[in-house]
Symmetry: C2
Subunit: 118 residues, 2 copies
């Protein structure tokens, strides 16, 4: 794999949930996903085998992990081991979050590639 | 490994280079490192086997990768495959960058643990 340099605002977004979009950057064994929550949007409870790390960049993301809510603001970070059920909501101003997945989420790559123009 | 929730501004920083500090968050197979460059600071050319991904959050980071300079501003992202030589400098206003490493950089963990108070 060659080095990559991108502007996230030029990356086509794909839909993660109603009112939640992601802009991915795929490495070899890990990926970034820059997520934009519209005000009040929710990612329903789900789980995946991928390890997930992240940081809130704007607004508030409430992560419910194993039944416990964690309200995270700008420059708050988290690690979710693979297999842990979690959901996410945001506050009235929406939120911007950077998620990291290891390994690459091939389901995201497929969804992203199927929504790109051309 | 249990889920982790942290405030990066409460994480003890460790020195990456003169004028460059990092605040790490260690997952199982990947880690985040929130980096603060003082104005004009430089990370000298180096290489590591770890895959590195990142995003600039504030200011400008100039990454020189395989001899080519890439000037990256806020919301610009990158992937550096393992083994590629790179250096980093920033502009006169400094920079804030989030780096991701896969796997965890155990050298960073050792340096961070050795600089923590207590």
């Amino acid at each position: 794999m060659e080095p990559q340099f991108i502007r996230f605002d030029e990356v086509a977004p794909f839909l993660l949930a109603e009112g939640v979009s992601g802009r991915p950057l795929f490495g070899e064994g890990a990926m970034l996903n820059l997520i934009e929550f519209e005000p009040g949007a929710t990612v329903p409870a789900h789980a995946h085998e991928h390890e997930q790390l992240g940081i809130v960049l704007r607004g508030v993301q409430r992560l419910v992990v194993a039944g416990v809510e964690h309200a995270l603001g700008p420059m708050d970070g988290y690690v979710l081991p693979g297999g842990v059920e979690h959901s996410a909501t945001c506050g009235p101003e929406g939120a911007t979050v950077l998620d990291v997945f290891r390994p690459v989420r091939e389901d995201y790559r497929e969804r992203w590639e199927s929504t790109r123009p051309g």
